[in-house]
Amino acid sequence: MGVVTKIISLSFIALGTLIVITYGGAQDPVISFIGMFAGLMLWSIGLALMGAGRTTQVKPPPPTITEIRCDNPDCDFKEIRDFEPGDYILRPMEAHCPKCQGSLTIYGIYVVLEQEEKSTI
């Protein structure tokens, strides 16, 4: 949405609010009706302008994680680090397990989203 559209829509809303406040509560029921009607009309025009062309904010993607595990089934060594180019799942690593000196393999490469979608129904 452009700056001009934003200013115009906010002006409509502000003017509508002003009219509702000034005339909406008038003693004379006719003036009050016209004030409310005109004010709400301006409000709806301003909101319609604001809604048109609205874009949603896109969040940056979460970092990709590489999980390395020891191949020895009795060893629970696990290393988690950021993804590096050349990593792939089941890639044997050159380094050895610091716990048991066994071989290491990339177990998984993945992202963890802050909030995974969960249905309430």
Binding site: M1, V30, F33, I34, F37, A48, G51, A52, G53, R54, T55, V58, P61, T64, I65, F83, P85, G86, D87, Y88, I89, L90, R91, I106, G108, I109, Y110, V111, V112, L113, E116, E117, K118, S119, I121
Partner: protein, 372 residues
């Protein structure tokens, strides 16, 4: 008579009321069209941004492998318009063979283009570059199609065109965003959610002693298998060759394995990612009957026809994902579902085959970032 007289004011109110009715009955649709057009425009701006940024990402990736940025940009723009004409369906006889042939030709052209544009890329990197190119192409196509309908609607003032594109815009944006977020995965060679099938098959094969050296390459185009023994049964664990990004031709591989083992295959099990329904949990596992494979037709047909011709039982195990998870970097939940899928594969083999039987376990999906 003074202004403010009740009858005068009521006359003004009546006039305003009728003017309001008249304006909205005559121009209501036009006001609404204007609002829809503005919303489509906002979506188009986002689609354009994604198309431009994905093109630039593709250029940045390709230029690393032997050609200048200008050369890559010129060639890539020519390639973004590349199309496939689907075979005529007025005479459906043999349509799958014709489609298969066209898809093979298309793959060859892609391979040729990538080799020309990135001469220093190895075969696995070339596969990833092919995938990167496809994503840039999809985003460019979506943007151009939506822009076409937007401009056409505006030009003709057709409410139905504008309304249709306005209604479809949220879904189009959702799919485009999924592909846009996936381009980094393809360019960097990260595993994607669709690769869960090959991952399951490889983990299963490794559990029973298979090594990358034992993988039998190219039983069909870019697809091979491990032969493993599982509780007295012989399992042919079929998957596309990785860690480059390819899905290969698993249907043809299954057909050849069945023909090579005349009458000995008793069951075909396919493992793949499947689209989840809204509200379903990501990574949920489901089982069913049939071939779980989402190709345009020829590969699925090959599996179904082979199973029917040789009277082989066929079953599917799928991991539920949405589009964004299927084409984006693999989510933790999908990775966590792998051990459970392997357990279900084992149960299926134990319960529905006998010792001595031969079984085909086919992991369907893109093998990007998944080693042998």
């Amino acid at each position: 008579m003074q202004f403010g007289n009740a009858s005068e004011i009521s006359w003004i109110i009546n006039l305003a009321f009728f003017a309001f009715i008249l304006i909205f009955s005559l121009y209501g649709a036009k006001i609404q069209m204007w609002q829809w057009l503005k919303q489509i425009e906002a979506g188009l701006i986002e689609l354009k941004r994604m198309a431009i940024e994905s093109r630039q990402r593709a250029i940045d990736t390709f230029k690393e492998y032997g050609r200048s940025e200008e050369e890559v940009a010129t060639e890539l723009d020519r390639w973004l318009d590349y199309f496939l004409i689907y075979p005529v369906d007025l005479d459906p006889a043999g349509i799958l063979q014709r489609l298969d042939h066209l898809l093979d030709e298309r793959r060859d052209r892609y391979r040729e283009f990538v080799t020309q544009l990135a001469p220093e890329a190895g075969p696995e990197l070339a596969q990833n570059l092919e995938n990167t190119l496809e994503v840039a192409q999809v985003l460019s196509l979506v943007f151009r199609i939506v822009r076409h309908y937007y401009l056409l609607g505006k030009k003709t003032g057709s409410q139905i065109l504008i309304m249709q594109i306005h209604m479809q815009m949220p879904e189009l944006l959702r799919i485009a965003r999924a592909y846009f977020e996936a381009i980094d995965a393809f360019a960097d060679g990260k595993p994607i959610g669709d690769g869960v099938g090959p991952l399951v098959v490889t983990r299963f094969a490794r559990e029973y002693g298979a090594t990358p050296d034992q993988y039998v390459h190219d039983v069909s185009r870019e697809v091979g298998y491990y032969r493993v023994e599982f509780e007295g049964r012989t399992v042919f664990a079929v998957r596309a060759t990785g860690p480059g990004g390819t899905v290969g031709k698993p249907g043809v591989a299954v057909k050849r394995l069945v023909e090579e083992n005349k009458g000995a295959i008793s069951r075909i099990i396919t493992v793949d990612a499947a689209l989840k329904l809204e509200g379903e949990e990501l990574g949920r596992i489901s089982e069913g009957t049939g071939a779980a494979i989402g190709d345009p037709g020829p590969e699925k047909h090959a599996i179904e026809q082979t199973a029917t011709d040789h009277d082989i039982a066929i079953e599917a195990i799928v991991v539920k994902e949405d589009e964004a998870a299927a084409v984006g970097v693999m989510r933790k939940r999908i990775l966590d579902s792998v051990p459970e899928v392997i357990n279900r594969v084992k149960s299926a083999i134990r319960e529905r085959t006998k010792p001595g039987d031969k079984v085909i376990l086919a992991g369907i999906g893109n093998t990007i970032g998944i080693g042998l």
